[in-house]
Symmetry: C2
DNA sequence: TATTAAAATTAGGTTAGTCTAAATTATTGT
DNA sequence: ACAATAATTTAGACTAACCTAATTTTAATA
């Protein structure tokens, strides 16, 4: 049951593509997510299927098997715990952690993983508000909504961001929007769907539709 | 200047073989250290030479170039800082850290490395008493001697162990010998060169010549 | 010095993971 | 229903890192 780093990355891609959208992950979306040629993806999907980590066919796309899901969730757990570690203990900002966590998630040591979890106080969410699976693979389910779905006037709390790219996160930093911040939705522009929100201290900022779709609140 | 994990491991092997013994590292010793076939080593030595990380010829063996040395020392720094981290912050024992550090040493993040160093208080030695190169690549030089070279009756302090294998380190644990422990050399047996030492609390133990050669004291 | 043994290299192969270009299958718009 | 377009797969190649078996070079010893 020992996966290569490459295999772990494919499984993770299939996992995250499978979360959004109900069907499996199709070749093209995996290729895009991993910046790899579709022909290479075909190859790897065949191998992952042979190893019983995924089911795959052209119509339904790739879906993790029970075994594949178990292994993938462990990788996700590692990724998110390491991100939390980097922010909580190593003075990283939320825009810096993802790249390093992409490396750290492949470290194999159950003891280290458990100690990390303990040191961080068994956190439930990572610095981007993503749920951290526990040692049994269970993770909390939240019913957060994207900002554009909120009625005008509601006061909400930012609980998750659906894009971990440094460019997006730095943009949020600049707008002074962070996890757990309280926002009030003031208005949504008709012509471009941009959202006007009030931050703490009465400060108001416009968020593009593009950006606001990726901000999840409760 | 981006090395593969495999290249880093070869350079590290050449480095450590070059430290002991004045000449370079020969093919066979590298092959043994990495558990790799000599024919494969020939291959890799050629590639490392082409990339200007080593000088190599059959007579003198492999020697790191200035560039190669710089990169290798950084890997050693990472390895030893991570080992220190595991012991100081993650409740690992000195016999458990090496294997995990072999993985962690390949993580690429200058910020993480600096923060790690800072969090640990800029340590000078790792859990086995090996010197940790600083950010400039400088490391303290000590004049420790192996236990069999000490005169009878001298009181000394354990400052380094020259074998990081779990089996050796667990053996030392069992004998209650650890870093910084004070020992008195009571006698050296003629027939097998085993060493009788007195530990704190007057307890006395025999150490085989094999073991005592690997215990460095001051 | 000639013979033998050890060390290193060469030759030829394998596997994982990638690529490009060409062929095949599906989907879609008219 | 059919042509155009999009998605996927096949075919053929490449690189890094390894292997075994055979050969060559160097060292040791009789
Ligand atoms: Mn991430
Ligand atoms: Mn995250
Ligand atoms: Mn070590
Ligand atoms: Mn060490």
């Amino acid at each position: 049951m020992v996966l290569t780093i490459t295999e772990e990355n494919y499984l993770k891609a299939i996992f995250s593509l499978g979360c959004s959208g109900e069907g499996g992950a199709n070749n093209q979306s995996i290729a895009e997510k991993l910046s790899i040629n579709p022909a290479s993806v075909t190859d790897m999907l065949r191998r992952l299927h042979e190893k019983k980590f995924i089911d795959y066919n052209r119509a339904d796309g790739a879906k993790l098997t029970k075994e594949g899901l178990k292994l993938t969730i462990k990788t996700v757990r590692k990724h998110r715990l390491w991100e939390t570690f980097l922010v909580e203990k190593m003075n990283f900002s939320w825009s810096e952690v993802h790249e390093v966590a992409e490396q750290l998630e492949h470290i194999q040591s159950d003891k280290l993983l458990n100690e990390l979890d303990k040191m961080l106080g068994y956190p439930k969410f990572d610095p981007h508000g993503d749920p951290i699976p526990d040692a049994q693979g269970k993770m909390p389910i939240t019913k957060a909504k994207p900002l554009p779905d909120i009625e005008i006037g509601r006061k909400v709390r930012v609980v998750n961001v659906a894009d971990n790219s440094p460019s997006f996160l730095k943009y949020l930093d600049k707008q002074e929007i962070g996890l757990n911040n309280i926002l009030v939705v003031k208005e949504i522009q008709d012509f471009d769907k941009s959202v006007l929100v009030e931050l703490k201290g009465k400060k108001e900022v416009f968020l593009s539709h593009e950006a606001s779709k990726k901000i999840f609140v409760e």
